[in-house]
Amino acid sequence: MSIRLVLDTSALLAYLAGDTRSLDVGELLASVEENGDLTGIPVACLIAAYRQVEAQHQAKLLQLAEGDDGPTVILPILAADAASVAEKVLRLDLDRAQAAAETLKHDATLATYEPAAYAACLDEDDILDL
């Protein structure tokens, strides 16, 4: 299975929002999985979202990210990824830098509510504007 979609912090927060934004992200997750692929959650985005939400939503976030046999996989920052993330963190916050780096590494699509934030690192067609 390949990483076809990457969720950034804004998409993770939307998943927890409890409104139509949650549905948009949920349907994307389901679609990717039902095509036999995975959605990647950069660990820096997971941590950034985690620190912004209340405890009940923190539990949901971990359930989404850590569940065995689930639709997502946590993407770590590996030693081999350090240069790519470091180069991007000169222009972006760490969570966005990792999201951009993972999108390019996996030749995936970044799902975000903040597409303009990635203009320095990604092409428009690397991004699904939620």
């Binding site: 979609l5 998943y15 409890g18 389901a30 999985e33 689930g70 699509t109």
Partner: protein, 76 residues
């Protein structure tokens, strides 16, 4: 471990299985994919997200449209 089962299938499904190399592996994969899908939808429902087949299909179309634009850029 494995178990040997006798099951009844519609003709069209049986004819399809006649043409695959390993029907047991094929059926196992199909059932595991179905279970995974159900597990995900249960998790989403548990998080208050009730997805529909139509919504999932529409999300897939949006994603494919972005991927197609990327593919077109690369071949240009």
């Amino acid at each position: 471990m494995t178990r040997k089962l006798s099951i009844s299938l519609p003709d069209d499904v049986a004819e399809h299985l006649d043409q695959v190399d390993n029907a047991s592996a094929y059926i196992t994969e199909a059932i595991r994919m179905r279970r995974k899908r159900e597990h995900t939808r249960e998790m989403l429902a548990g998080h208050g997200i009730q997805v529909t087949d139509e919504g999932v299909a529409a999300a897939g179309e949006r994603l494919r449209a972005v991927e197609e634009r990327r593919r077109q850029r690369r071949v240009a």
